[in-house]
């Protein structure tokens, strides 16, 4: 007959055997199904992020529809047309033979922009130019969010369909950055609706100071220029036409000033917003050489081509900011950099040119809420 002590010993060894079996089983489960479990966990993580992107995409679409309804004051439902816009694709030219590709890209993007503007004008026939430009910007935001959502969803579903752990993990790793950019876009909608200057508008703000009360001439699409005098130099100041939310065509404008208006420029100074690196302070100002302009690259190409051909030095002044700050309402930290930028412009003009020289100052960026 077993004693009480023996019974407890037997019971104890049973529990540890059971634990051993569970441990061995879980070991085999993880060996065999480990990747599937990880796919499930990563998939859930991406699914949550995808839901957030969907909410943002739907919100931006709704904001676009509401804006068209309130501005157009029409009984017709703009939703169908807006949905068409969101699915609108731009097919980039083939790059197998890159010779002359910049001209092709420029032609395609110009055609797209003209088409979007004419369609928006049709939907808002009696709206002021500023409202048309705001509508264009809101549509562009909604279209970007729609595209981000579609691409993330594509890779998420593809990863799940093929049980590709690597694909899903890569997607999971870039999701925080994707969400950050999407957040910036959705936050920008309110700023655009109210017509407030955005952080990217620091270049036009600086340029506008030199243009107040001067005659303006249109030198390229949505781009205006004034001519003034600064310490014995002729100063050509250009910016996108405000207060509309335009970025203009500064590349073409500078080319026309040099080659069509035959102005023998001695220096080009470009002021633009630049994305700061993590750890850098908003509103920090950096000086440099080269064409300070973002975008698809066509304007930059033109400026580099024409300045190299005519041996005109190009000086850059950059105001640092994050992507969120660049497309949402102008922060005080950024406007506080204005004084420093004006000092740098004055120094550059005085040190790099002499009296009688001709200098072009270009304020690059979105001119929303910035007149001239």
């Amino acid at each position: 007959m077993p004693t009480l002590a023996n019974m407890s010993l037997q019971f104890g060894s049973d529990v540890s055997s059971l634990l051993n079996i569970v441990w061995l089983l879980s070991f085999f489960v993880f060996i065999v199904y480990g990747q599937r479990i990880q796919v499930y966990i990563v998939g859930n993580d991406i699914s949550r992020a995808l839901n957030r992107l969907k909410l943002m995409k739907d919100k931006s679409r709704k904001e676009a529809v509401d804006y068209f309804l309130s501005t157009g004051k029409t009984s017709a439902d703009p939703a169908v047309k807006i949905d068409e816009f969101l699915e609108y694709v731009t097919i980039m030219p083939v790059d197998l033979d890159p010779q002359g590709i910049v001209g092709k890209i420029e032609h395609i993007t110009e055609t797209r922009d003209d088409r979007v503007r004419s369609e928006v004008k049709k939907m808002l026939p009696n709206a002021e130019p500023i409202k048309v430009s705001v509508a264009e910007n809101i549509l562009e935001i909604a279209s970007s969010l729609n595209m981000i959502h579609k691409i993330v969803r594509h890779y998420y579903l593809l990863g799940k369909k093929t049980n590709s752990y690597i694909l899903l993990v890569q997607l999971q790793m870039i999701m925080p950055q994707v969400l950050m950019e999407a957040d910036a876009l959705i936050n920008a909608v309110d700023t655009f609706k109210l017509g407030q200057p955005v952080g990217d508008g620091i270049g036009p703000i600086i340029a506008s100071k030199y243009m107040v009360n001067l005659p303006k001439q249109v030198v390229a699409k949505d781009t205006v220029m004034s001519v003034t005098e600064y310490k014995g130099r002729t100063l050509y100041v250009l910016k996108a036409e405000g207060p509309m939310g335009y970025v203009g065509e500064p590349g073409l404008a500078i080319q026309r000033v040099i080659e069509e208006m035959n102005v023998p420029l001695n220096a080009i100074i470009m002021v633009d917003a630049a994305l700061k690196l993590e750890g850098e302070k908003t509103g920090d100002v950096a000086e440099g050489i080269g064409a300070a302009i973002g975008g698809i690259g066509t304007d930059k190409f033109r400026i580099e081509e024409v300045s190299a051909k005519h041996k005109v030095p190009v000086y850059a002044i950059l105001v640092k900011q994050s992507i969120l700050e660049a497309i949402t309402v102008m922060r005080k930290d950024i406007t506080d950099a204005s004084d420093r930028v004006h000092t740098l412009i004055a120094n550059l003009i005085e040190e790099k040119t002499k009296e009688g020289d001709k200098v072009l100052l270009a304020g690059i960026g979105n001119s929303l809420g910035v007149g001239q």
Partner: protein, 74 residues
């Protein structure tokens, strides 16, 4: 910056991410340099004519529009 008192319409708060901002318009008198800070109103833009200067009566111009974070009162 010299700031003259101006009638303040209800402040428009704007939210960006987790932060809340008040947006202000700065009107500057080209004659005497007097600067006035007021809340942003829809239709404001930089270089637009503002109200008459409270000091010399000249027409002011909007020179800046910017956002400042809302300071929480304790």
């Amino acid at each position: 910056m010299s700031t003259a008192p101006a009638p303040q319409p209800p402040q428009q708060q704007t939210q960006q991410g987790k932060a809340k901002f008040n947006v202000y318009t700065i009107e500057e008198c080209p004659a005497c340099g007097q600067k006035t800070k007021r809340s942003f109103q829809v239709g404001d833009y930089i270089t637009k004519d503002g109200a008459n200067c409270s000091k010399c009566g000249n027409v002011t111009k909007i020179t800046l529009i910017y956002a400042e974070p809302v300071v929480k009162s304790k």
